[in-house]
């Protein structure tokens, strides 16, 4: 934003334009871009998700609206817009109305600190990572409000599950991000992305290629999936148990807003993951002259969509886990693992030469993983003996 402002001011064409106009233009353009690009990605992510899930199940997926179904998102939007908006009679009207709005706002705010390319960031906050966590916890409020205001036991159960889950997964997720902050020495997302530049083809310095970085990446993705309630952590809206959880009583465009918020949060989390662990916009050719920023943006979106694809792939494969398994996994496996990971990152910083540090931290983390999966593993169920069936 500031860069755009400087650029506009330095350009001789706009010499006559007053400063305040330039300022507001430089504010409005990034906001407009965020509001245009990411919801468009959201719309097509839903299509990609349905197509990919179809292919995973050996189906074709949507293919009727437009060629290959590319107009399907528009049809869905039109359908949801024209549907009747039903509010339960016993519902708390105002909170019921407010919940979907609250669901979307934090998700959009998250994109403010995601650098798409070198210098291409809406707002370069120096507390970017902290901002992300602060905002993403606020999204749980929407889930709670939606579930509570509906006056429906399934909605309330979904809301309770959502709150418990988000609060639990917040902790390992923050600790997983701490290693990145430690390595980059800054909370700013731009600085984190810059710290991963250089090396062979701009690839080898990505944090994911460090042992602690890899573990942090896995922990962070798990946390992000739980935070945005994606399968296998979708118990807040487990349709086979509690209908649709907190958005059971929502229809029409309010329901669409919930979906929008959820998908935007998932997209933003994928973007943050790409920035923090996968080098952000760093990739072969992003330091070229003139077109470097374009190559960087390409790499960024490629990484974002790959993460989204993996999340979809996981959704198509793994079954939903139980509530007690979910919380036990967060507190008994992820939390200790992330604390060990912080330790490993510190060790890596102080041990020289780096290849030795690499091996030492890798061994440490592997042992921690072995121990935790043994300790934290759920009790093995005895083989059942049947009295009559055998």
């Amino acid at each position: 934003m500031e860069q755009l402002y400087q650029l506009l001011r330095s350009c001789s064409w706009f010499a006559k334009v007053p400063d305040c106009v330039l300022f507001w233009v430089s504010v409005a353009v990034p906001i407009g871009l965020v509001l245009a690009v990411y919801p468009a990605i959201f719309a097509y992510t839903t299509l990609i998700e349905r197509k990919a899930l179809g292919r995973i199940q050996n189906r074709l997926g949507p293919n009727r609206v437009g060629r290959w179904g590319i107009l399907q998102p528009l049809a869905d939007g039109a359908k949801l817009l024209t549907k009747e908006d039903i509010v339960p009679r016993a519902a708390d009207g105002f909170v019921h109305w407010l919940a979907p709005v609250i669901a979307v706002i934090p998700s959009i705010l998250l994109f403010a600190v995601i650098p798409v390319g070198s210098g291409l960031i809406p707002v370069n906050l120096n507390i970017g990572v902290l901002f992300v966590f602060a905002i993403s916890t606020a999204s749980v409020l929407a889930l709670f409000m939606g579930g509570w205001a509906s006056r429906n036991k399934f909605s309330l159960l979904g809301a309770m599950r959502a709150v418990a889950q988000v609060v639990s997964y917040e902790v390992p997720m923050v600790l997983a991000a701490v290693v990145v902050v430690m390595a980059a020495g800054s909370l700013s997302t731009t600085a984190i992305a810059q710290a991963q530049g250089g090396g062979l083809l701009n690839i080898t310095n990505w944090f994911v290629f460090r042992p602690w970085g890899f573990v942090g990446f896995v922990l962070f993705v798990i946390g992000a999936m739980a935070e945005s309630a994606r399968t296998p952590f979708d118990i807040p809206e487990a349709e086979s148990e509690i209908i649709a959880g907190y958005h059971t009583e929502y229809s029409g465009f309010k329901f669409a807003l919930f979906q929008l918020g959820e998908y935007l949060a998932a997209l933003a989390m994928a973007g943050i993951t790409a920035t923090m662990f996968l080098g952000g916009y760093n990739g072969p050719g992003n330091d070229l002259k003139y077109i470097g920023w374009l190559v960087g943006a390409f790499w960024f979106f490629a990484k974002l969509m790959s993460i989204i694809f993996v999340i979809i792939w996981i959704r198509g494969t793994w079954p939903r886990i139980r509530v007690d398994q979910l919380l036990g996994f967060a507190w008994k496996v992820l939390l200790p693992m992330s604390i060990v990971n912080v330790l490993a990152a510190a060790l890596y910083h102080f041990i020289n030469p780096k290849p030795l540090a690499w091996v030492v931290t890798a061994v440490l983390l592997f042992i921690a993983w072995l121990v935790l999966t043994k300790v934290g593993a759920p009790q093995q169920i005895e083989k059942r003996v049947y009295r009559y069936a055998d």
Binding site: V95, F133, A134, T137, A138, W148, L156, V167, E170
Partner: protein
């Protein structure tokens, strides 16, 4: 800047007022969240980004959610059961305590030299500065807090374990 201050202050005060006057418990908590948000906005206005973000993270993300969760675990889930009148019998004792606290805080603000300066240049609250201050100048209170929190955590685990043992 001034307009922003007045608007945010109005919202903050409105949230605080609603939090103590509304009948429905959950509505009270939601108003409290509005109040927390207003305080965070004040921090941002003062260019204390870190404090603002932490305010949202801790107070909205943890404290308020914890209160909501506690309400949901009670039988009064809808939040509609509760005392009929807003001001209870002992409202004057609360008033006295509030007045005492306000006087104390006002005294502290008056006595402090930093607020007297009222300049934005001096309020350098970058994350690095805060970090260094915490682990260098204020390391003893910081560690004391850490020990306190750890003790509280262990205490919570012990209480939960007792419950589990009794059930067995």
């Amino acid at each position: 800047m001034n307009y922003a201050f007045w608007i945010i202050s109005a919202i903050t005060l409105l949230g605080a007022f609603l939090a103590v006057t509304l009948r429905n418990l959950v509505h009270c908590v939601l108003s409290l969240i509005l109040f927390f948000l207003g305080v965070a906005a004040h921090y941002f206005l003062l260019r204390a980004d870190f404090l603002g973000a932490v305010q949202i993270l801790i107070y909205i993300g943890a404290v308020a959610v914890l209160i909501l969760f506690a309400i949901m675990l009670t039988r009064n889930v809808t939040g509609t059961e509760g005392p009929r009148e807003v001001f209870g019998m002992k409202w004057w004792s609360g008033g006295v305590i509030a007045a005492a606290v306000a006087a104390f805080v006002l005294q502290a603000i008056k006595a402090d030299s930093v607020t007297a300066a009222t300049s934005t240049t001096q309020a350098n609250s970058s994350v690095a500065e805060i970090g260094k201050a915490l682990v260098a100048d204020w390391v003893v209170p910081f560690e004391a807090m850490a020990v306190l929190l750890t003790a509280a955590l262990i205490g919570a685990v012990v209480i939960a374990l007792e419950e589990v043992m009794r059930r067995r």
